[in-house]
Amino acid sequence: MIELQGLTKHYGDKVAVDHLTCTVRPGIVTGFLGPNGAGKSTTMRMMLDLDNPTEGTVRIDGRHYRRLRNPLTSIGALLDAKAIHGGRSAYHHLLCLAQSNGIPRARVDEVLDTVGLTSVAKKRTKGFSLGMGQRLGIAAALLGDPQVLLFDEPVNGLDPEGIHWIRHLMKDLAAQGRTVFVSSHLMSEMALTADHLIVIGQGRLMADTSMAAFIRENSRSYVRMRSPEQEQLRDLLHAEGITAVAVGDGSLEVDGVPAARLGEMAARGRVVLHELSPRQASLEEAFMQLTAASVEYHAHEDRRVAVRPPGPPPAGPPVQPEGWGADWDAHRRQRKGS
């Protein structure tokens, strides 16, 4: 169990994490979701007492990290796969961590076997691929057989087989009653592994909900209609009390009415239809909508445009997602550059 209480981190004037309060419970995989630069890694570093919070506290099984005796036996973490000394072998990397927490040497061989690195255990990690580094990081997290596990973007750099493996590993660990906390910036990845979601945007808590509820509440289904007699179609729908929103490319979008009923209405009103297609906004869109809407109000107004599924470009000047979305992208590029 991990408890965050009003956790806040300022870097100068910039607020990276803003009064985050939530609880990560055992027995399930909790996804920690947010766009790049939302404060996920900062939060995780504060959970491990690597960064000092400006305000607030983190408790691991009721205790402050620094109070933990042999912390690796309580909480294991994969933060950054490349954070290893390239000149040291995988075996010695794990051995020095094990020794510092009084973990027996035999356990090093065990976790190397678990992650499938036994054959390269004596090799220096300099030559490791990103995927191998990721596996070594996971081995280090498992070293103390901890009840709490933290994974920061664990599927980065893994091949499909590796991704499959880590998903199963996380589910198994949770099924054993452990607390598993996984960060990602990809909703699609979370949808496959997480039972519970904590979503943050610009350091603030956006959602703390079960995966099922999130899908139910946030996925938008709508019907897309296209007609050469668009005005007549709109009037027809309006008469039935249905609002159709015109989208830039000449089609209409209708929320909350089944496609079959719309088709029948058009037939009754003798309006020619060129398209009648039920659509489901992806979870990725729902996630972006959630983080975007709560941060910058006017992004909500542009939402149809901002979160449109890829299609033909709208006529007229391209509409750029403003505010949060643009800021996020610029921020990310800035971070990459520095």
Partner: protein
């Protein structure tokens, strides 16, 4: 604290499992001894042509340590790498997650590295003394002569303190390139310049290396107006080292890893 022996063992594994340890310490040993012997050999052939004054001030013990000026640079590299490698590789986050008591972590790291450097430093000091004296032939000093044993042990302590001082600086600056970029030119050039230009000599002799090197002198310099003795000089160097370590500790304790 029960964790200290665990962390000491862990730090020893870290130090012995990277090649830079052998390379840097090996270089320090070889350079110090080889250069010491070379200069002693040259001094022996030179002795006949020296003035009476120079002969009077001839310090066979000190001259066998002539290689240390260069050998200490490898010690500095060792000290810097031991600490700053944690930061440059990102390993520090794994290390501190494993040992969140930062004072314990730093203390154990420094203790292990210092113990190793002390052994290597003393061995080097004795080896370079005996090899140097052998090369000096008739002009040699004996380990039993007054002040000589103190100078030889002092040579080992000097090398240890130089490495420890570098560890403190590296803990403050974190970056290996920055630490080396400051320490190497400082000890190789700037300190020597400050110590040999008459205007700055009075300041120069309070620098860690100049003060510390006093302990390796047996025969007093001809114009010796240095206001401290061999142990006083070492004390100044220890004060510098403690200051660097305190700075390093404060940075580690306060800053985000």
């Amino acid at each position: 604290m029960a964790v200290v022996p665990q962390v000491l063992r862990s730090e020893w594994t870290k130090i012995r499992s990277v090649r830079s340890t052998v390379w840097t310490l090996g270089t320090a040993v070889v350079v110090t001894i080889a250069l010491g012997v070379l200069i002693c050999t040259l001094a022996r052939t030179d002795f006949a042509s020296m003035s009476a004054h120079a002969r009077f001030a001839f310090d066979p013990t000190n001259i066998s340590f002539a290689g240390m000026g260069l050998g200490q640079l490898a010690m500095i590299v060792f000290g810097v790498l031991v600490v700053s490698n944690e930061y440059s590789t990102g390993m520090i986050r794994a290390s501190l997650a494993a040992v969140p008591q930062r004072a314990t972590f730093l203390f154990c790291k420094l203790l292990v590295a210092t113990a190793l450097v002390l052994v290597v430093g003393l061995a080097t000091s004795f080896a370079t003394f005996f090899a140097g004296q052998a090369a000096l032939g008739d002009h040699r000093a004996d380990i039993g002569d007054p002040g000589v044993l103190r100078a030889v042990i002092g040579g080992g302590l000097y090398m240890t303190l130089i490495a420890l001082f570098s560890m403190g600086v590296a803990a403050m600056l974190r970056s290996p390139m920055l630490s080396l970029g400051i320490l190497m030119p400082f000890f190789f050039l700037i300190s020597n310049i400050l110590g040999n230009v008459s205007a700055t000599r009075k300041i120069g002799r309070y620098l860690p290396d100049q003060a510390g090197q006093k302990i390796m002198q047996v025969v007093p310099r001809a114009v010796d107006d240095v206001p401290y003795g061999p142990w006083g000089g070492l004390g100044i160097m220890i004060a510098w080292t403690l200051a660097a370590l305190a700075g390093g500790f404060v940075v580690l304790e306060k800053r985000d890893a």
